[in-house]
Amino acid sequence: MSYPLDPDFMTDAMKAEPTRAGFGRGLKAAGEADERVVALCADLTESTQMHLFRDTFPTRFIEVGVAEQNLVTVASGMARAGKIPFTSSYASFSPGRNWEQIRTTISLNNQPVKIIGSHAGIYTGKDGATHQMLEDIALMRVLPNMVVIAPGDSIEAEKATRAIATNGMPSYLRLAREKTPVFSTEDSPFEIGKAYVLREGADLALLGTGTMTAKLMEVAEHLSKKHKLEVSVVHVPTIKPLDSETILSIAKKTGRIVTAEEAQIAGGFGGGIAELLTESLPMPLLRLGMKDRFGESGDPAELFPLFELDAPSMTKAIVEWAKTAHRYHQ
């Protein structure tokens, strides 16, 4: 197993931290590494963890106010002036509100602006449906030139932030508000466009993006111990471009695939995997995620079971599905 997991992961001593905290550290590090890095925020500086950068590089931090359309278009102009702009807000507002400006002035215009969407997904919790952004993966992965990353934990979020600072491309980073389990280590690999096999098993493969990967590791344990299903778990932090080589290779070995995301499965990560498999290696696919519904207020610990996205609910759904979803053989 080449991917080192945190030794405390899935123990009582499991570490937890919001992915946005990793972003805050990564941005400061990116700013130290390259003076072209600038940061723009729309009145959510501490909430999106940009204050570390602001306090270190006050002249390279720009407060834009509650104006997400201006946020990304000012950033586009700064990129033209040779800067590497990071913009942050809540994902509901950016890219939610300003998608056309991103499309025209960043994606089509091909400027290396970084769009940081914090508070994405169900981990946003009590703020409710308006703030639980579930459509951002679908919105961003259809844009040409755009890189889309949903880091699995705070350590990976830090690495991803540093990586997009140097990739020279328009990039979207999806972050969560609440603490989520830390499964990776400083030594775990992260490269844009790469998926990582965390666990190997021949019965089926679980593909997770963002914070769902940690839950899938728990699911894999349940499946193994209680249901005699030995499954692979693949962590797919980069949703665009997909690591089709790794995914198709594991698909060939396991013959059936489950995807999980805290986002709409329509057009989302599961949608992307469905496109890949349908064209390259058609096989049974179960997509777990939000199914054509909005979220609602509540503690994430209660919301995940409500939306059947906690480990026990997902385990149950996978066991049921696996009974009739026959493995594909070439």
Binding site: N70, A75, G77, M78
Partner: protein, 286 residues
């Protein structure tokens, strides 16, 4: 590069002729805005902007953003006049594979600072560029210009940018509004009233200059004034006649998004010949 006033009046007329020829050949595109902007783009490319057509990415250049991308035929014609590319290429406007897209794309054409079309985003980009020059890089000798339409001032993004530029006193930013009073659905004051336009910009912290947008000397003077104001951004409200120079198009919003057919183009080119060198003397009136 830099031209005298008399030379520029002739240049503006040539640009208008090229616009008519391009649009008729493309059988698609917008007529009124580009014709109305010909004097402003002449002033920009042949007097105001510090640029080098043979070195479009010159590090010391002034920067021009076009916010209302649908008027780009006037910029293409001015760029060809200035020597960014050969005039023959103008006839490729809107053709498959052309660098001269229906709405401008930065990556296709050197000298184009951004990609635009969807309205309301140019001022923010210009403000971002000006912010980088003024507050991060401490570069004082470069200026950032942005041409906007008046119809696009309906967009909220414009006013977000206006607040931003006012807050940060972006004195190296100079906006130019093509105040031609028309947009697709009719006259601006009927569709969504903009007045008191000067008062609006002033209240956002801008220095405002109103000029006759067909008087090249006035446009150049206003830009000089903008560069001299060091504690605020400047916006030039340039009063223009949509379709300027072609009498059957002037003032008529129906020509906003329509190209001339062959007969109309022939007639337009004839009328433009008689105007050669007279544009400034007619004036649009402020």
């Amino acid at each position: 590069m830099k031209q005298t006033l008399i030379q520029m009046e002739h240049t503006a007329t040539r640009i208008r002729k090229d616009i008519i020829t391009m649009l008729e050949h493309a059988k698609s595109g917008h007529s009124a805005g580009p014709l109305g902007l010909a004097d402003i783009f002449t002033a920009l490319y042949f007097s105001i902007l510090n640029i080098d057509p043979k070195n479009p990415d010159w590090a010391d250049r002034d920067v021009l953003f076009l916010s209302n991308g649908h008027t780009v035929p006037v910029q293409y014609a001015a760029m060809a006049e200035a020597g960014f590319f050969d005039k023959e290429e103008l006839l490729t406007l809107r053709q498959t594979g052309s660098r001269l897209q229906g709405h401008p794309e930065r990556e296709r054409l050197p000298g184009m600072e951004s990609t635009s079309g969807p309205l309301g985003s140019g001022l923010s980009q210009a403000a971002g560029y000006a912010y980088a020059l003024q507050h991060i890089d401490n570069v004082k000798h470069r200026f950032v210009y942005v041409v906007m339409g008046d119809g696009e001032l309906n967009e909220g993004n414009i006013w977000e940018a206006a607040m931003f530029a006012g807050k940060y006193k972006l004195s190296q930013l100079i906006g130019i509004i093509d105040r031609n009073n028309i947009q697709i659905d009719g006259n601006t004051e009927d569709v969504m009233p903009l007045e008191d336009l000067k008062g609006k910009w002033e209240s956002f912290g801008w220095h405002v200059v109103e000029v006759d947008g067909h008087n090249i000397e006035s446009i150049i003077d206003a830009a000089s004034q903008g560069r001299a104001v060091t504690n605020r951004p400047t916006v030039i409200i340039a009063h223009t006649i949509p379709g300027k120079g072609v009498d059957f198009m002037e003032y008529d919003y129906k020509w906003h998004g329509m190209p001339p057919n062959a007969d109309q183009a022939k007639e337009a080119l004839q009328k433009l010949r008689t105007l050669d060198g007279k544009i400034a003397h007619e004036g649009a009136g402020v």
